[in-house]
Amino acid sequence: MGPLATTVTRLYGTRGWVTLGVCAFLLFVLVPLGNLAIPEGSIFHISTYWVTLIGKIMCYAIVALAMDLIWGYCGILSLGHGLFFALGGYAMGMYLMRQIGREGQYKMDMPDFMVFLDWKEFPWQWWNSDQFWWAMLLVVAVPALLAFVFGFFAFRSRIKGVYFSIITQALTYAAMLLFFRNETGFGGNNGFTDFKRILGFAITTAETRVALFAITGAALLGTLLLARYIVISKLGRILAAIRDAESRVMFCGYNTVNYKLFIWTLSAVICGIAGALYVPQVGIINPGEMSPANSIEIAIWVAVGGRGTLVGAIVGAGAVNGAKSFFTQAAPEYWLYVLGLLFIVVTLFMPRGIVGLYGQLREKWSRRAAA
C-alpha cells in the first residue's frame, strides 16, 4: 500500500476515521441543511444563533489544539496565546473594515474611526489591507513572526516553566495596552466592528454564515489531523521527551531550541488562523481579546478537557465555552461560581481532564478489584 495509505492508517484506526467522518457529515451537511433548507419553526431547524455559537466555539477549539500542542505535548505553558489569536483576528478585521466601503456611519472611504480622528490617508499598517490575499498573508505571517522572534530569544536564553509563562503574559498585556491607544491605528478600545461584507458576500446572510461555519469546521478537522500527524511522528516523541527530560534530549544531540521554536511558532500560526475565522462570525475584534485573563482561560480549556490528548483540547474548549454560554443566561448571578469550582475540581480530582476521567475511574475500580 502507498505511503499516503500508510499515513492514513497511522493517523487513526477505522473507528477514529468513522467518527471523524460522522463529524464531517454533521458539520458540512446536517448543520447547513438544518439551517438553510429546513424552514424556521420546524423542530429540525438549526437557528443561526446555534450556527454562530458553534462556529465560535470551534474557533476556540482550534486555539485549544494549538495550546495543547505546546503545553500538553511540549510542556511549555503560554499565557499569551490570546495575543496571537487577536493578531490573526485584527489582520482579518482590517480587511473586513476595508470591505465596508462607504456604508459606515460617515459614508466615507475610510473606516469610521479614522474619519473621526480625521486621518487623511491610511497609516502604514494598513498598506494593501483591501487585498484579501494580503490579509490572509498577515493572518499567518504576523503571529508567526512575533512568535518566532520572541521564542528565539526566550528559548535561546533557556527561559523555562513559570518564567516563560509570566513573560508571555507580560507580552500580551503590553500588546493590549498598545492596541487600546487610538494612535496605534486599530480603532483603540472599540476595535473593529459593524462589518458588512467578506469577499463581496454580505456577511449577515445565512449562506455566508453557514459557509464560514463550514470553513471553520474544515479548519478544525484539518488542525486536528495535522496535530495528530505531528504528535505520532518522531518529532512528537522528541517534544514529549523535551517535556520530560530536556537535558537528556540535549545530551542525545538534539538542538532543543529549534524543536521548541518550531512547535511554538506553529502553535502561534494556528491561533492566528483561528482568530481570522473568529472575527467575521462574531462580528467584533478589540483589544479585550489580548487581556491576560483570556489567555489563562485558553490554558484552562485544555486542562479541563485533558492536556496531552488532542480530543481533550477540543472537548475542553467545547465544555467550558458551552457552559459559559449556558449559565450566563440560566444563572447570570452565579455562573462564575460554577466556572470557578469547575476549574478547582478538575485540577484537583481530574488531573487528566474530562477525557481522562473514564480511564481514571477504570483504574480505580481495577485497583479495588485487586485489593
Partner: protein, 424 residues
C-alpha cells in the same frame, strides 16, 4: 489519543450540545419577553448592575398595574460579563432564541457597537440608557442617555461664565477610549469657538483602571499656575476614586481648580470620601437631589425595592442618571406599544418617536420624532459633603439632542434621522 477516547469525547460533546438545545422557553399565556443585557460580572459590573435592578423594578411596577396591553412582561436577564463579543452573542440569543420584544442594555460604547449589527440584522429594538459620544444613529436603537450637546457643552459654557469661575485654561482629562476622545474633540472645537487658545488646552489620557494619579494631578497643578484653570474629566468610572482622592490629598480645592465630570454620579461617589471634593462639578440630566414629586416618588420606590429585594447597598439607596434613563426608556416603550397596539418592532419604532414622559428630573421629556434621542434638560451640580449634588445651574427646559455634533467637521451635512433600512 486512542480511538476509544475519541469516540467517547464526541459522544460527550454531543451530550453538551444537547443540554443547550433543551428548550427553556416558557409557554405561558399572555406574556411578553423583554431582554435585560447588563454586565453583572467583570469590570463594568460596578456600574451596570444597578441598571439591571432598576429595570426589574420598573417591570414589576408595570406588571403590578396589569402589564402592557394585558400581557405580563417576563424579563430575560443575561450577563454579558463585560466581554464585548459575548454581548453580541447574547444579543443574538435574546433576539433569535428568546424572541424578546425589546432589549434594555449596554453601557460602554464598545458593547453598543458590538451588538448594533446584530440588532440591525435581526431588526430588534434596543434602548441604550447611558450618555455617550454621539456620532451614531440606528433605526433599531433609542438613546435615552445624553448626547454631547446635552451634557458636555453646557457644562463648559458654565465653567467659562462668571458664576462658573470664569475659567481661562482647560485640562481635558480622560480614560483612553472613544467616549472621552470624541467628547474632548468636540470640546476642543467648542473652546476654540469661544476664543480659547491652543496653548490653554491640555489633553491627557490614562489607561483603563489607571490607579496612580500623582503625576497627572501634579501636572494639573503646574498647568493651573498659568491662569484660571478648570479640569474637564471624562475618566472612566473605576479610575475616578483614586483620581479624586489624589485631588483631595494634594489640596486642589474646587474653589481654585474646579473639576467637572461627565461620568461621575451618585453611584461613583459612593466609593469616595467626598468631604475634600465639595464644590467639584458634574453635569447630568438628572440628580438624585432634585426636588419634585416625580423624583420623590422615584426615590421612594427605589428605596423600597432595594430593601425588599435585599439589594447590596440597600442601606444607602442611590439613584443616578443612567437609572433614570433606563426607567424612562421602559415606560416610553410601554407607551409606544400601547399606541401601536402591537409588539411588532416595525410598528413600535415609529410609535416611540414623540412619546413624552414626566421624568424624575422634573421635566416632561420627549422622544424626538426623528433622531431617536430624548429631549433632556441639562443640570449642573456641585458635590456636597454627603455625596449628593447641589444643582447650581439648569437649562430652562429640555433641549434637543444633536447626535451629530456641529463641532465635528462634515457633520453639518448629516441628516438627523437614521436611514430607513440599515440592512444590506
Amino acid at each position: 489519543m486512542n480511538r476509544r477516547n475519541f469516540v467517547r469525547a464526541i459522544g460527550l460533546s454531543a451530550a453538551i450540545t444537547a443540554c443547550f438545545a433543551s428548550p427553556f422557553a416558557y409557554a405561558q399565556a399572555k406574556t411578553v419577553k423583554v431582554g435585560i443585557m447588563h454586565s453583572l460580572s467583570g469590570t463594568m459590573a460596578i456600574s451596570e448592575t444597578v441598571l439591571k435592578d432598576v429595570a426589574l423594578m420598573a417591570i414589576d411596577e408595570i406588571n403590578a398595574k396589569g402589564g402592557v396591553m394585558g400581557a405580563k412582561i417576563q424579563p430575560v436577564v443575561v450577563d454579558p460579563a463585560s466581554n464585548w463579543p459575548l454581548f453580541a452573542e447574547k444579543a443574538r440569543q435574546l433576539l433569535s432564541q428568546d424572541k424578546v420584544a425589546v432589549t434594555f442594555g449596554c453601557w460602554t460604547s464598545v458593547s453598543r457597537k458590538s451588538v448594533l449589527p446584530v440588532f440591525e440584522e435581526l431588526n430588534g429594538l434596543l434602548f441604550y440608557p447611558v450618555q455617550y459620544e454621539g456620532e451614531e444613529l440606528s433605526k433599531n436603537v433609542f438613546y435615552t442617555g445624553a448626547a454631547p450637546n446635552q451634557q458636555a457643552i453646557p457644562a463648559v459654557e458654565y465653567l467659562i461664565s462668571k458664576d462658573g469661575g470664569g475659567a481661562k485654561r482647560f485640562v481635558l482629562l480622560g480614560t483612553d477610549y472613544v467616549y472621552p476622545r470624541t467628547t474632548n474633540k468636540i470640546l476642543r472645537a467648542f473652546l476654540k469657538s469661544k476664543g480659547i487658545a491652543e496653548k490653554d488646552i491640555d489633553e491627557k489620557y490614562t489607561p483603563f483602571g489607571h490607579a496612580d494619579y500623582q503625576t497627572i494631578v501634579a501636572d494639573i497643578k503646574k498647568f493651573s499656575a498659568g491662569g484660571k484653570t478648570a479640569v474637564i474629566s471624562t475618566i472612566n468610572g473605576d479610575s475616578n476614586v483614586p483620581f479624586y482622592k489624589e485631588l483631595g490629598n494634594q489640596g486642589l480645592k474646587a474653589t481654585n481648580v474646579p473639576v467637572v465630570a461627565f461620568s461621575v454620579g451618585e453611584e461613583e461617589l459612593r466609593g469616595v470620601d467626598t468631604k475634600p471634593l465639595v464644590g467639584h462639578l458634574a453635569a447630568w440630566n438628572y440628580f438624585m437631589s432634585v426636588k419634585n414629586p416625580a423624583n420623590d416618588e422615584f426615590r421612594k420606590k427605589w428605596a423600597a425595592y432595594a430593601k425588599a429585594k435585599k439589594l447590596p447597598g440597600a442601606d444607602k439607596p442611590l439613584t443616578n442618571d443612567p437609572m433614570e434613563a433606563t426607567y424612562i426608556g421602559i415606560y416610553m416603550w410601554k407607551q409606544a406599544v400601547e399606541k401601536a397596539k402591537t409588539f411588532d418592532v416595525e410598528k413600535v419604532i415609529p410609535a416611540v418617536g414623540g412619546q413624552t414622559f414626566t421624568a424624575p428630573s422634573g421635566f416632561s421629556v420627549k422622544m424626538d420624532e426623528k433622531n431617536h434621542h430624548l429631549h433632556k434638560p441639562v443640570l449642573i451640580g456641585e458635590v456636597k459633603a454627603d455625596g449628593q449634588f447641589n444643582v447650581v445651574w439648569k437649562t430652562k427646559g429640555p433641549i434637543k439632542a444633536q447626535p451629530w455634533s456641529p463641532f465635528i467637521a462634515g457633520n453639518d451635512k448629516k441628516k438627523d434621522a437614521p436611514d430607513g433600512k440599515t440592512k444590506i
